[in-house]
């Protein structure tokens, strides 16, 4: 890989001479984080909506726990998943440690509370507006869920982005459960840590700039989509 004392120059060189190594690191980063966010959404959207719509004993405890878990240190999440997937752990049989799947699991743990918690807030607000009308139309609470989730979709895109931001930026969890194995589990953030530890600071920063650019690009696309939808749907 090219190197220079200037991080921006290094980033530019990295992009211009996009080699196979860098490409696989970037695409693995995106794959792991996107899959983790998608799977977290699959569980988090219904969970958040259910918390918004149903009153049950212990509901407040669940809400507080989810809010607190939004601040879970990635290293702790990584350590828990490590102990779970380690050969000596309960799911050791599956042999998933040091694989991209393990990284997806760790990021899923980090992203789920964010998606569930923010979805609850969005759906609760919308439910306040819609409840009487939907009830009047004869909808049961369970059947309100998909309607509310779909009508909250613009806000939920932002929720997913928050989740994606957390997943793509964290390093502590994927480092522990992925092992930063070259060509297998090395992603943008673990590469940055590695280059920093080699003292190759321009390269580390260059990779950081690329990561930031990618995240910015994805956010910009989502933002534009959201703005268009807002204008169109009112």
């Amino acid at each position: 890989m090219p190197a220079s004392d200037n991080a921006f120059l290094t980033a530019l060189q990295l992009i211009l001479h996009m080699d196979g190594d860098l490409f696989s690191i970037v695409s693995l980063s995106l794959q792991v984080s996107l899959v983790a966010v998608a799977l977290a959404a699959l569980a988090g959207l219904p969970l958040g909506a259910a918390l918004a719509l149903w009153r049950f004993p212990g509901r407040n405890a669940v809400i507080i726990a989810l809010n607190a878990l939004m601040g879970l240190p990635p290293v702790v999440a990584g350590l828990c998943v490590y102990l779970l997937l380690s050969r000596a752990g309960p799911l050791g049989e599956w042999g998933l440690l040091f694989s991209p799947t393990a990284m997806v699991v760790a990021q899923w743990v980090l992203v789920l509370p964010i998606i569930a918690s923010l979805t609850r807030q969005q759906v609760e607000a919308l439910h306040g507006e819609y409840a009487e009308q939907l009830q009047s139309l004869g909808l049961s609470t369970a059947r309100m869920m998909p309607t509310l989730l779909w009508d909250a979709r613009i806000g939920l895109v932002t929720v997913m982005l928050a989740g994606f931001g957390r997943a793509s930026a964290e390093v502590g969890a994927v480092m522990i459960v992925g092992g930063n194995i070259e060509g297998v589990t090395r992603v943008m953030t673990t590469s940055i840590v590695l280059e920093t530890s080699k003292g190759n600071l321009p390269m580390a920063l260059g990779l950081g700039i690329i990561l930031l650019a990618l995240v910015t690009l994805i956010n910009a696309m989502a933002h534009l989509m959201g703005e268009t939808a807002k204008r169109r749907l009112g």
Partner: protein, 269 residues
């Protein structure tokens, strides 16, 4: 619109998932230390092993303490570390069946180029350590229970020094981060030569003391116990172990150079 959105996201998900589930060749997971990984040695020798055997070696580079723990839990097929006492204990505890010398490099002391403690002309490593302690010059220690950290602690002990006080800074970091920090605060530090030579952010740090026999840094390869962890890829791991000790593996290690300097010296029995 709803349908398109669902179909699009579903296909994206499938694509991404498919990318993650690439077909794997035979591989083993090797727990080793950051110092070997950071020096670039593995990138040089593993392809030679893979060419010959079609076995890929996936390196998980962590501190020596964590490497032992990883192997103890059965999460690595093979172990290559540099803490001879710890390795022998590991065998004695029944987690490994065999330990062999593979290679050595040496530790050096680096520090600010104006050398405030004047260790450059020390008679011995004991003398150098004493001069640092007496002058109360800042010293950046790994402090992470790694092989390098353990070696450093043994040297303070043999120099008869209680390494304690404001000047002695335990960082709890890997070798690279420790050097970054030492460079930032003009501190002395204890490092393996391989990491030092490959390190790209020395700033004002320079190599000040080397050559004492006590700075010898022995690497060993261990065969993990099949009895303890029957699920591991013992056959493949044994091929790797044997290759490291073979003439071919030893030559590959000797051939690895950075800036024209040989970093590791093969010494299999």
């Amino acid at each position: 619109m709803k349908k398109t959105a669902i179909v699009t996201s579903a296909s994206l998900l499938i694509l991404a998932w498919g990318g993650l589930a690439l077909a794997d060749n035979d591989y083993i997971t090797l727990a080793s230390t950051t110092s070997t990984e950071n020096s670039g040695l593995f990138e040089a020798i593993i392809p030679q092993f893979t060419d010959k055997t079609d076995i890929d070696v996936r390196v998980v580079a962590v501190g020596t303490g964590q490497a032992f723990e990883t192997a103890r839990r059965g999460d690595a097929d093979s172990l290559l570390v540099h803490d001879t006492a710890g390795e022998e204990q590991f065998v004695a505890d029944g987690y490994a069946t065999e330990r062999q010398n593979v290679m050595y490099n040496d530790f050096v002391i680096v520090g600010p180029s104006d050398d405030p403690a004047g260790i450059e002309d020390s008679d011995s490593i004991d003398d150098a350590m004493q001069r640092i302690a007496e002058s109360q010059s800042p010293f950046a220690s790994r402090g992470d229970d790694s092989g390098t950290h353990r070696a450093e602690l043994r040297l303070w002990e043999s120099a008869g020094i209680e390494a304690d006080g404001d000047w002695y800074r335990e960082l709890g970091s890997g070798m690279g981060p420790t050097l970054n920090t030492a460079a930032g605060m003009d501190a002395y530090s204890f490092t393996d030569r391989a990491t030092w030579v490959a390190f790209e952010n020395p700033q004002d740090l320079t190599l000040l003391y080397e050559g004492d026999e006590a700075l010898f840094n022995q690497y060993g390869s261990l065969l993990i116990s099949e009895e303890q962890h029957p699920h591991l890829k013992h056959d493949l791991a044994e091929q790797w172990h044997e290759w490291l000790l073979s003439d071919e593996g030893q030559a590959a290690i000797a051939d690895y150079e950075v800036d024209g300097q040989q970093l590791f010296f093969p010494n299999a029995d």
